[in-house]
Subunit: 245 residues, 4 copies
C-alpha cells in the first residue's frame, strides 16, 4: 500500500487555501494596476493584503521545507517557489498556484493524457497572459518612453508577444519589463511547442489506427497455445506408457 508522506498530506490539505490566497493576491495585486485612479487608502489596503498573502506563502514554504524528507532535494525541486517569494519582481509567479484549479477540471472527467495537456495549456496560457499583462503594466506605466498606459495595453502586448507576432507597437523599455518579456517569450515558444505536439500526437495516433488493419499476436495468446502444447505432451506421455503393460 502506498502511504502518503507528511509533506504530501500537508500539500493536499492546504491546496485549496493556497488557491484562495492566490486569488486574494490576484485581486489585491490587480486592483491598483487596473484602476490607477483608485483612492490612496484602497491602494494602501491592497498593498497590505499583498504583503499578508506573501507572508502566508512564506509560512507554507517553510512548513513544507520542514516536512520534506530530503531538504536539499526539496529546495532544488521548488526553485521557482523560492524565486517567486524572494524576488519582488517575480511576485506574480505566485499566481502559478492557480494552476491547481485544473484539478477541478480533471475531476469533471478529463482522464486522457492529451486532454490533460490541452487543459493545462489553455488554462495556463490564459493565466500567463493575464499575469504578464498585469506585471508589465505595473513595471512600465509611468517609465520614460513607456508605451503602456493601461491594463488593456498590457494585455494586448502580452497577446502579441506570447504568439511571437511582435508588431513592435508596444515593447518594454525598463529592465524589469524586459525580464517579464523574456519569461513570456519562453512561455510563447513552449505554448507553440505544446499546441503542435498535441496535434501531432493526435494525428500520428489517428493515422496509425487508420493504417493498422492487422492485429498483432498477443503474448497471452501465445502463452495459451504453449499451455495447449504442453498438455498435449503430458497426455502423450501418459497414453504412451500403458502399451508395454
Amino acid at each position: 500500500m502506498w502511504v502518503m508522506s507528511r509533506l504530501e498530506v500537508w500539500e493536499e490539505r492546504t491546496e485549496w487555501w493556497l488557491v484562495a490566497a492566490a486569488l486574494v493576491f490576484l485581486g489585491a495585486y490587480a486592483t491598483p494596476i487596473i484602476w490607477p485612479q483608485i483612492p490612496a487608502d484602497v491602494t494602501r489596503t491592497c498593498h497590505v493584503v499583498v504583503l499578508i498573502t506573501w507572508v502566508i506563502f512564506w509560512i507554507d514554504y517553510a512548513v513544507r521545507l520542514g516536512l520534506a524528507e530530503d531538504r536539499s532535494r526539496f529546495v532544488r525541486r521548488n526553485v521557482i517557489d523560492l524565486v517567486a517569494l524572494a524576488v519582488p519582481m517575480f511576485r506574480p509567479l505566485r499566481l502559478l498556484v492557480l494552476l491547481n484549479l485544473i484539478t477541478v477540471l480533471n475531476r469533471v472527467g478529463l482522464h486522457t493524457m492529451r486532454g490533460r495537456v490541452a487543459t493545462y495549456t489553455g488554462f495556463g496560457s490564459l493565466v500567463m497572459i493575464l499575469v504578464a499583462g498585469l506585471a508589465i503594466t505595473d513595471a512600465e506605466r509611468g517609465a520614460p518612453g513607456s508605451m503602456i498606459g493601461s491594463f488593456g495595453d498590457g494585455l494586448w502586448w502580452a497577446a502579441v508577444t506570447v504568439t511571437t507576432v511582435g508588431y513592435g507597437d508596444i515593447f518594454p523599455v525598463t529592465a524589469a519589463g524586459r525580464v517579464i518579456a523574456a519569461v513570456l517569450m519562453v512561455g510563447g515558444i513552449a505554448l507553440l511547442g505544446v499546441v503542435t505536439a498535441t496535434l501531432a500526437s493526435w494525428l500520428v495516433e489517428r493515422v496509425s489506427t487508420e493504417n493498422e488493419r492487422v492485429e498483432t499476436a498477443t503474448r497471452a495468446q501465445v502463452e495459451a497455445l504453449a499451455d495447449e502444447v504442453r498438455a498435449l505432451r503430458a497426455e502423450l506421455a501418459t497414453r504412451s506408457e500403458p502399451p508395454p503393460g
Copy 2:
C-alpha cells in the same frame, strides 16, 4: 442500423441553404467594406441583407435547439454559433458555415485523415485571412491613428499576423481591432501547429514504413496455429483409445 436523429436530418437538409445564406452574407458584408465610395442606397441594401441572413441564422439555431435531444449539451457544443449570433463584433464568425463547402471537396475523393486535415487547414486559412481582412478593415478604417485605409491593407495585415511575422507596419489601434487580432493570432498558432503536425505525422509514418522490414505475427495466425494443435490433441485422443480394445 444507425438511424439519424431529427436534428441530423434537419442539419443535412439545411446544410446547403446555410452555405448559400453565408455566401449572400459574405457578399453583402464585404461590398461596403471593399468599396467604401459605393452609393448610400446600395450600402443600405447590403445592411438589410446582412440583417436578413442574421435572422435566418437565428431561426436555424432556434430550430436546431428545439430538435436537440439534450438541449444544455447542444448549447455547450455550439457556443461559437451563439457568440457569432449574439455579439455584433463577431458577426463574421458566421462565415464559418462556409467550412461546409469542404464536404464537396471530400466527395471529390479525400478519404484519408491527413488529406482531410490538410484540406480543412488550407481552406480554413484562406477563409480566416479573408474574413479577418474584412473585419479589421471594417473596425479600423477611419479610426484616429488607424493604418488601414483599404481592404488590401486589411488582407496584408491578416497575412502578416496569421504567419506570426508581425512587421508592425500595420497594427490595430481600436479595442474591436485588437480583439479581431487576438483571435487571428490564436488561429495563426493553430495553423502553424496543424501544418507541422501533419508533416510530422506523414514523416513518422514514412520513416517507420522504411524501417519495418519485419512483419509482426498476427493474432489470426496464432489462432489458426492453436486450432491445428487442438485438432492434433483431439486426434491423439481418438487414436490412443482403441489400443486397449
Copy 3:
C-alpha cells in the same frame, strides 16, 4: 516490368538542359538587380536572355503537354509551371527548376527519407531566400516610400521574413512586393513545419528504439512453427495406423 512513358523519357532527357536554362535565367535576371548602375546595353542583353529562357520554358511546357496521356490531369498537376510562365510577376518561380540539382546530391548517397527531406529543405530555403531577395529588390527599389535600396537589403528582408522574425525595419510597400512577401511567409511556415517535423520524426524513432528491448514475434516465425505442428500431425497419422496391423 515498368516502362517509362514518353513524357518521362522527355523529362529525363531535358532535365539538365532546363537546369542550365534556369541558371542562365538566374544570371540574366539577377545581374541588373544586383548592379543597377550597369551599362544600358548589358541590361538590354540580360532582358533578351531572360526572354529567350522564357520561350524555352514555354516550348518545354508545350511538348510535355503534347506528350501527356491525360492532358487535363497534366495541367492540374503543373499549375505552378503555368503560373510561373504566364504571370510576369511570378517569373522567379521558374528557378524552382533548380531543385532538380538535388538529384545530384541524392546520387552522392542520401537514400533515407529524412536525409532527402533535410536536403530539400536546406537547399530549397537557400534558393527561396535568394529568389525572394532578388524579386523584392526588383519590385520595390525606386517605389515611393520603399525601404529596399540594394540586393543586400532584399536578402536581409527575406531572411527576417522567412524566419517569421519580422522586425519591421523593412517591409514591402507595393502590391507586387506584398504578394512576394505573402508567398515567402507561407514558405516560412512550411520551413518551420518541415524542420520541426524532421526533428520530431528522428526523436520519436530514437526514443522508440531506446525503449524497445522486446522483439516482437514475426509472421515467418509463427509460420515455421505451424509447419512443425502440421508435420507432427502427419507423422502421428502414419504412426498410429500400423498398430492395428
Copy 4:
C-alpha cells in the same frame, strides 16, 4: 574490442584544456564589450589574451588534422571550426567548445535520449543568446544609426530575435550585425523545432503507452513454443518405434 584512434585519444585528453581556453577567451572577449569605459591597457591585455587563445585553437586544429586518418573527411566534418578560426567575424563561434561542458551534466545522470536533447537545447540556447548578445554589441555599438548602446541591449535583442518575436525596437544596421542576426534566426528556428519535437516525442510515447494494454507476442516466446513442439515430435518418434518390437 573497440580501440580509440590517435585522434580520439588527443581529443579526449585536450577536451578540458580547450574548455578552459574557451572560458578564458569568453572573459577576454566579453570584458571590453560589457565595460567599454575600461582603461586602455586592460582592453589591450584582453586583445592579447584573445589572440593567444586563437593561436591555441589553431594549434589544436593543426594537430587534429595531422592525426586524422582521412584528412579531407576531417576538413569537411570540421568546417565550422575552420570558419570560426579563419574569419575574424566568426570568432565567437569558438565558444561552441563550451558545449563540451554538457558532458559533465551527462555524467550527473542524464542517460535518456530526450534528457540529453533537452539539456543540449537549454544550455545551447543560453550560450547562443549570450554569445549573440556579445557579438552584436561588438559589431553594432558606435555604428551610425545603431540602436545597441550596451551589452544589456544586445542581450535583449538576442532574446527577441531567437524567439522570433522581433519587435523591431532594435535591429542590426551593419553588414556584420545582419550576418550575426541571420545565424541567430536559424538558431531560433532550430530551437523552436527541437522544443516542439521533444514535446511531441514525449507525448506520442505517453499516449501510446496509455493505449497499449495489449502486450505483443515476443520472438523468444514463440521460439520457446517451437522448442516445445519439436520436443513433442522427438518424443513421439521414440515412443512410436518400440511397438513393432
